[in-house]
């Protein structure tokens, strides 16, 4: 018989053993109900929602589907420490689900489903300088990473944060940054696209902060999260500066529905962003024609 048996060709696809999902026996479609404990506006369109506990265990870098009951779900990475008592999300209002979320009050019920995706490989970061680059609401997942690093700060040589926002009023966590800047072993620099009279720091897009990179680019990991346009230019600059491609960690943007590698919505080429990511290295995505949306 003249039929072609397709050959297994797994040279490029991520290792199947890396595709571990959650096999804890719970219905993966079910959201755990939990109350909102506190709502803290960060900027005019970004707000932190503190939940009344830790509905699921997660590691920095993993994400969850957050539900507004009866409205729908959207994927978010917790912005709180994995070691904290309360789970937090810092969310920008952009559309249907986020608007419904912004209409909720303290004490209202939401649902959480997850954790999904792979965490940052913190054990690979040990003993190294860590170079974190963020823009806009991209600070949310990075805060969770930062707090996880702080939890064992002695394990790391130094933590750098380079963060940019549109204006001083658009800076997320302005209430927390001064305290972070005082921590030994932490170096934070900020920039805004447009300053005001009180602004004493850098003015310009995030890449301005990347002109001088004080870390050993050959060995240090760099972690980037922000809007796609920022991701694109920051990545370009970091490659140019000499970071190893497999050390450039990018939070990839994609549409998601299930969160666990079945519905296909998140696929970027053959990569399931929800399962293989959501943090992928430049090494993983560089062959994709348009990795940044």
């Amino acid at each position: 018989m003249e039929s072609v048996n397709p050959v297994k060709n797994s040279d490029k696809v991520l290792d199947q053993s890396q595709r571990k999902g959650l096999s804890n026996g719970v219905n993966p479609y079910y959201s755990i109900p939990i109350k909102i404990k506190e709502i803290i506006p960060e900027t005019s369109n970004i707000t932190t929602f503190i939940l009344d506990g830790m509905p699921i265990k997660f590691e920095a870098g993993q994400f969850a589907e957050l539900t507004v009951p009866g409205v729908g779900e959207a994927p978010f990475t917790p912005s709180s420490s994995p070691y904290a008592k309360n789970m937090e999300f810092t969310i920008m209002q952009v559309g249907r689900v986020t608007t419904a979320l912004f209409n909720l009050k303290e004490g209202d019920l939401v649902g959480v489903r997850g954790p999904f995706g792979k965490p940052y490989p913190l054990k690979d970061f040990k003993g190294k300088e860590i170079y974190i680059v963020g823009g806009g609401v991209g600070f949310a997942p990075l805060r969770s990473l930062f707090l996880a690093l702080l939890h064992n700060i002695k394990d790391y040589k130094k933590i750098y944060i380079r963060y940019g926002a549109r204006t001083p009023d658009d800076i997320v966590y302005r209430r927390l940054i001064p305290d972070w800047q005082k921590i030994n072993g932490v170096d934070i620099a900020l920039t805004v696209d447009v300053g005001d009279e009180s602004w004493k720091e850098t003015v310009g897009v995030v890449t301005v902060l990347l002109e001088q990179i004080p870390v050993n680019v050959k060995s240090s990991p760099t972690i980037v999260c922000g809007p796609p346009i920022m991701l694109k230019f920051a990545t370009k600059r970091l490659i140019e500066a000499g970071f190893t491609h497999s050390n450039i960690y990018l939070s990839m943007e994609s549409n998601m529905s299930c969160g666990f590698g079945k519905c296909n919505h998140c696929r970027l080429g053959e990569i399931y962003v929800c399962k293989d990511g959501p943090v992928l290295t430049w090494e993983n995505v560089k062959d994709i024609e348009e990795p940044f949306i």
């Binding site: 018989m1 595709r19 943007e253």
Partner: protein
Amino acid sequence: MKLYLLPSDNIIHFITKLAEDGPVFYPVFEDDKVHLNKFDKDKKFELNFEKIRTVETIKHFLFPSRDVVAKFPKDAQKKTERQYLVGVKNCDLRGIDVYDKVFLDWEPIDFGYKQRRENTIIISADCPEPEDCCFCNLVGLNPFCESISDINFTQVSSGLLFEAITKKGDEIINKMEDLFTGASKEVQQQRDKIRKHAINKLNKINKKSFKKDLPKRVEKADKQKMHNARKDCVECHACLHACPTCYCFLLSDYKRGKNFERVRTWDACYYAAYARVGGGANPRSKLDERFWNRFQCKFNYFNKYEGIYACSGCGRCYRGCSGKIDIREILWNL
């Protein structure tokens, strides 16, 4: 596995017996096409197992087009019942092969799918007369089944020649032992002849095979060529909703009083908003990009994941296409 003959006169008894245990779905001929219908013992039973696959895919039975997958705040799952699918063709089993991988092998396990799969007995049938739309032979399949279903049969002159494939299948045959007789050498030779004829016919319908490096060719496919191939596409999405191997879905939540239900519906990558992200950016806003994605999904990515194409060669996309686009022609030309 052991072969048994179900003599013509006993076919109706066999089906009726099955129906005592759960609904039986089998092919019925209507308006020039074969449809999957529920067996009703009070209606006339027709034998249509020699026809090609039904218009409807069997994926509805395991992965319904609309399904409540969770409830909030307290979850509740409904129980699924035993059901029998009789006369399924091998192309549709490729779909089950794909779904078994996605919903059972890839973690996390989809419990709803698992329950339905375990409760669905699949009795497949040889395809003696492939039609112009069929190309299972090009995607690594035979026009008869040797795995995945529980039992397979071939329609021969004296009845149906059964072969148990799974333990469950064997048990069913054993339970109705008295309806079956042994399979003579002649009957077995008849099956060989029928199968040979079907393969020959497929080779005649599909004069060329796909190139051995088809996945690579799909990955590197010329953009202009693909654009020309989709020129007649009117974006009706019939191809993807008719497809027995597509597995995309979307979750939506619906209010039910104070509670809500999470509903899973089939989705398709040809829809313009399929990959749209919050704020409006869209990595596949152009039809060309979405058309491209379907080919990558089926003939490149899935082959990388599992070593098979997410295509069964059933030809439903071609038969259902408003623009009469033949997926084979596109693949031959790459």
